[in-house]
């Protein structure tokens, strides 16, 4: 869907009221390093800062507008109007940053699909970190079909099911479902995001036969088309700066064992502080904001493992998240206090689509070192058409 003419857009905005504006304010802290990218999901302001929590390290935590981050209730994304029966688009964006130093800046709006959190030895170790994207489960009856598994998956996670025999009645292969989290090891299942939000879940008929598996999906981009990955520090390790020496991900085409390129270096303690995208920066081996995908790949369906070795291993008790996000649009802020605008209908007619449930947030690039506690304010105009 969308608009077939500017007339249709004018009609939807002025007659049907299908328009919404959101104001966002974040505070950069600590000082952002020159040439570095930073994720503002973890910065104070509005929306509230996330700490990328997870009950268990390495488990994929799907993110959505309304689902919070992991088992906590923090809504980390920019609220954008919930689920609509049509398509929602960004019409216009504006951004401003007031800082004594650091200009010019680039800001990139992304839809955060989810993250794998790591702490302690998963940050400091040099071995392979095997990421968790699926669990086997059993089915039972508890106010509907109840799945019981090992790890703590976030509510509203989009999933698919497989089995070595017969799935429980109500579940089908190659079909998307959404989890409604009940506890750290249980969830009910809905057939759509709208149903999941409404609490309308699949009824229990039987537990199926055999061993079943639930597998996380990118929540809004089928097979992760267009999705990118980045490591972001939430709590700085004490010291160190390892290289991403090995990795394995599945691309949008379903090909496994793909690897990020260039042996990106994660940077030393001096620039591994909170909100920093660890592999961005000026030196050789730095890539920002996203990890270079293997040649020909058009997206990331899932990340299975990675190894940090070489360079210097991290020490201390840091917290790092490996995020998967879909970039939506960009805006440049040429100087401090300069309100910049992008008209995405007339000026850059891209009208980026905001998928239902999108977890929106900003990544920020600083050309110079950006002064501590600088206010970053943005406004986004959304419009939508109803199918």
């Amino acid at each position: 869907m969308g608009w077939s003419s500017q007339d249709a857009l004018v009609n939807d905005i002025t007659v049907n009221g299908q328009y919404m504006r959101r104001d966002i304010a974040k505070i950069t802290s600590p000082v952002h390093t020159a040439g570095g990218w930073h994720s503002l999901f973890g910065s104070a302001g509005s929306p509230n800062a996330t700490t990328f929590p997870s009950a268990q390290d390495l488990v994929f935590q799907s993110c959505s507008e309304l689902g919070g981050d992991a088992a906590s209730t923090t809504l980390l994304g920019i609220q954008n109007g919930g689920v609509i029966a049509g398509t929602k688009h960004i019409l216009n964006i504006g951004a401003n940053l007031v800082a004594a130093a650091g200009a010019p800046w680039q800001a990139k709006l992304v839809d955060l699909q989810g993250y794998h959190r790591m702490a302690t030895t998963n940050v400091t170790g040099t071995g392979s970190r095997v990421l968790i994207n699926s669990n086997t489960f059993t089915a039972s009856s508890s106010s509907g079909l109840l799945l019981t598994y090992t790890n703590d998956f976030n509510t509203f996670s989009k999933v698919r099911f497989t089995t070595n025999n017969t799935l429980p009645t109500g579940l089908s292969l190659n079909t998307d479902y959404w989890l409604v989290r009940v506890s750290s090891t249980t969830a009910r299942v809905a057939t759509s995001l709208s149903n999941a939000i409404a609490g309308t879940v699949i009824s229990f008929t039987d537990a199926g036969i055999g061993t079943h598996t639930v597998t996380m999906q990118m929540p809004r981009y089928q097979d992760g088309v267009g999705c990118e990955a980045f490591f972001v520090s939430q709590t700085a390790p004490t010291a160190g700066g390892p290289n991403l020496s090995a990795s394995s991900y599945t691309n949008t085409a379903g090909t496994a064992s793909r690897s990020f390129q260039g042996s990106p270096t994660m940077g030393v303690a001096a620039d591994s502080y909170a909100t920093r995208i660890l592999h961005s920066g000026n030196a050789a081996g730095r890539y920002g904001p996203f990890l270079p995908r293997q040649g020909g790949d058009t997206g990331i369906k899932s990340i299975e493992s990675f190894t940090w070795s070489g360079g210097t291993a991290y020490t201390g008790s840091g917290v790092v998240a490996l995020c998967i996000a879909r970039p939506l649009c960009d805006i440049a802020i040429p100087m401090s206090g300069m309100w910049s605008e992008r008209d995405l209908v007339n000026q850059l007619p891209s009208l980026p689509e905001v998928k239902n449930g999108a977890c929106l947030g900003w990544l920020l690039f600083s050309t110079g070192a950006t002064t501590n506690n600088s206010p970053f304010t943005t406004a986004i105009d959304f419009g939508w058409s109803i199918t």
């Binding site: 004018v10 002025t14 007659v15 504006r21 509230n48 809504l75 300069m338 501590n372 406004a379 105009d381």
Partner: protein, 284 residues
Amino acid sequence: MGFRNVAQVAAAYEKGRFSYCSFRKVPSQGTAAGNWVDLTMAAGNPVPQYYASSPLEAAVLNGDKGIFHGDEKSPYTKFIHNFGIVTPSIGFLGQFTIMDYLLYYPFVDGDSLDIQPFINDVTLPRFTDGEGVYVMAVASAPTLGGGSFTFDYIDHAGNSKTSPVISCNTTAANIATLITSQQATVAGGLPFLPLAEGSRGVRRITGVTNISAIGGLFALVLVKPLFDTAIREVSTMTEINFVNLRPILPKVEDGAYLGMICNCSATVAGGLLTGYANFIWGND
């Protein structure tokens, strides 16, 4: 009723469904670079207002005394179609946010550490569920610098919430300055106050508590931002034609009090700001 197509937007002028307003502001209050300042408190036209009514009691502003957009147009719907703004004063270089001022709570005592409950005999006159309604804190008597506060409110969904603790400017904020807008201070630099988890707006505020003394007096103001613009150099008018230069048409509710805040690049005291707005309303 709005516009079904671009032709109907153009036809509004042929049919006489338009109005025009100029404005001119000459603030006397000094402000600091990078702070936000409330220009409804500046002298000029429209006439200034000072959030002067019974302390801690919710009150509304008279829409006819803001940027003048004419009388009520219901059942039609009124929109801003063109907007221009210009200054010869470097203090006014920066961002402007044009807003509908909905409701305010005057004369919060910045020194008291007791809870200051608000009286809500008046409710939101527009955007009544509070969706997308933000709060700003404006000095009505200069603060001392420093201090922090929190406030209790009913959010867009009708839930009682308490805001995070909000730090104020570390240096004294003059009258009309948004007291949370100083850059490079912890939790500062924000024109609008952060809300608690899950709140998408504010329906009413029930009370405020200073965590540490702020000094002076301030008002909490509920606003609905409509659009932003900026002046990037002196003596050059910034003009927006909505639809063609900005793909929205900001809706002006009947009774709206239109005003603006500015993220100034230097003090605005003694500066001059002028501009205009065109309004059009819907189809037959």
